[in-house]
């Protein structure tokens, strides 16, 4: 079961990121506008492809612009306004009304480029950089169809059981769900929740019991959200530093292997937490329980939530760092980024809420068996290992915009 289970999960995860396509081009002049940077390795690869592509297809003309020049900047701003997109990186290729950011290789982006050129030839072509181009026409066409004509195509894949899936609409929410859920099974802070529950079960006032328990989880989620936001902003700031992606990718590979090793291990039970850590947290919890002033209870609970997240930062940094690094590679509005972080936190909280709810309702702690942690280590290990490998070797497959 173990081997079949691992193979199935691996196949599902890999096919989730797969693209496909293949086209041919007919004779009609098509201008490709290519924006690059001298220090961008993917730009160099794409330039090689475009040189070869244009030499094999005489009707294709490639115009290249170094983004450090004023001319290139003017053209990019023009393209952003006409095609209604936000330029986020290089290489950037404009083909008619479509734009492609990034380079995935001849078999993926190369095929997409050929497909778009073929589409231009078959269905008509508008060069937005030509002086007589009808930018208003493009806007009208967009209004008519109700879609952003600047979007790249070919984001549908076929999955077993699910049929055709549009990755643009599906993948980031699913990735958030999977990683958020796995992170929720993180045992790093579970010991604190269990101690809190054991103390709360001794509290006679039922309303106080629930108030403190739920408040702790809400504050924990809030503090974790702040940490996630900090990671996200860090990776947004370093977005064009390729080394960061490689470092996180290698880290993810290490985390994935570690998780799988933990799954294979026969060790069960809890690692004994250091006495200093325990005493610090236990005294905070005991003070909250006996405190009569509700305002101080709120402050105490907030302080507890912050302390726990800080103490366990090293233990629980892996998945948030990996997720926010991937998220930073997507072209989203600010509020969309934070919406995804909120979604992540909600999923992350689910298992703790279930444990707390059952404990305070039945006065018994259930759902903390080691087998759940083991399953999360297996699934988590495979997903993170695949993500790490993609981040290092095929990062373009993680960006669907």
């Amino acid at each position: 079961m173990k081997v079949k289970g691992i193979l199935f999960i691996l196949f599902f995860t890999l096919s989730f990121f797969a693209f496909g396509g293949g086209v041919s081009a007919k004779e009609e002049s098509v201008n490709l506008h290519f924006f690059y940077s001298e220090v961008c390795p993917h730009c160099a690869h794409e330039k090689t492809f475009l040189d070869k592509f244009s030499s094999e297809n005489e009707f294709v003309k490639v115009y290249s612009y170094d983004v450090s020049t004023p001319e290139a900047i003017r053209k990019v701003v023009h393209a952003e306004n006409v095609l209604n997109f936000k330029h986020r990186g290089v290489p950037l290729l404009i083909i008619g009304e479509k734009h492609i950011v990034g380079w995935g290789g001849d078999e993926t982006t190369g095929v997409l480029v050929a497909s778009l050129v073929d589409d231009c030839v078959k269905n008509g072509y508008v060069d937005i950089f030509e002086e007589n181009h009808e930018s208003s026409g493009i806007a009208k066409a967009r209004e008519k169809t109700g879609e952003n004509k600047g979007d790249t195509a070919q984001t549908e894949i076929s999955l077993p059981f699910f049929g055709k899936v549009d990755l643009k609409a599906f993948s980031l929410p699913l990735l958030t769900l999977v990683i958020g859920f796995l992170d929720g099974f993180n045992p790093c802070a579970m010991w604190v929740l269990l101690f809190l529950i054991s103390v709360l079960l001794g509290v006679k006032d039922i309303k106080r019991r629930w108030f403190i328990g739920v408040l702790f989880l809400v504050f924990s989620a809030g503090v974790y959200f702040i940490f996630l936001a900090a990671w996200l902003n860090f990776f947004m700031f370093l977005k064009y530093v390729v080394l960061v992606r490689y470092v996180i990718g290698v880290f993810a590979i290490g985390v994935g292997i570690y998780f799988l090793k933990k799954f294979m291990s026969k060790e069960t039970g809890c690692q004994v937490v250091s006495e200093t850590k325990r005493e610090r947290i236990f005294s905070k919890i005991k003070n909250i329980i006996v405190e009569k002033n509700m305002f101080m209870v709120v402050i105490g609970t907030l302080t507890l939530a912050f302390s726990v997240n800080l103490i366990e930062l090293a233990c629980s940094a892996g998945l948030p760092a990996i997720y926010t690094n991937i998220l930073s590679g997507y072209e989203l509005s600010v509020w969309n980024y934070y919406l995804y972080l909120t979604f992540y936190i909600i999923i992350f909280l689910i298992d703790d809420l279930i444990v707390l709810f059952i404990a305070l309702t039945t006065l018994r702690v259930v759902g903390v068996e080691g087998k759940y942690e083991k399953i999360s280590k297996l699934v988590g290990g495979i997903v993170i290992l695949v993500l790490g490998l993609l981040m290092v070797f095929k990062p373009e497959l993680l960006s669907f915009s």
Partner: protein, 90 residues
């Protein structure tokens, strides 16, 4: 034979083992056990060297009080019963 059980309220494995031990002790009334809370029984923790390992830890003592076996972590009930029967007359 006597079994010393070392656990903690903050340890999920200990919480899982609690009802299993309750059933085993109910079915084997002759069995002697003693529970030590990890945060309170410092002497016993030190004596049986439980401090650096994992919890829960179950130490099996013979009639002379000498340690003859030890189990760590979440143990299936049938494995626990088998171990207890194995050391019953020691």
């Amino acid at each position: 034979m006597k079994v010393l059980k070392f656990g903690a309220v903050w340890c999920s494995g200990c919480i899982v083992m609690k009802p299993r031990w309750a059933r085993v002790e109910k079915e084997n009334p002759w069995l002697q056990t003693e529970y030590f809370d990890f945060d309170e029984a410092k002497e016993a923790i030190e004596k049986y060297e439980v401090g650096k390992g994992r919890l829960p830890t179950f130490v099996f003592l013979n009639k002379e009080g000498k340690e003859i076996d030890r189990m760590v972590g979440e143990v299936k009930e049938e494995v626990l019963v088998k171990k207890i029967k194995e050391h019953k007359d020691k």
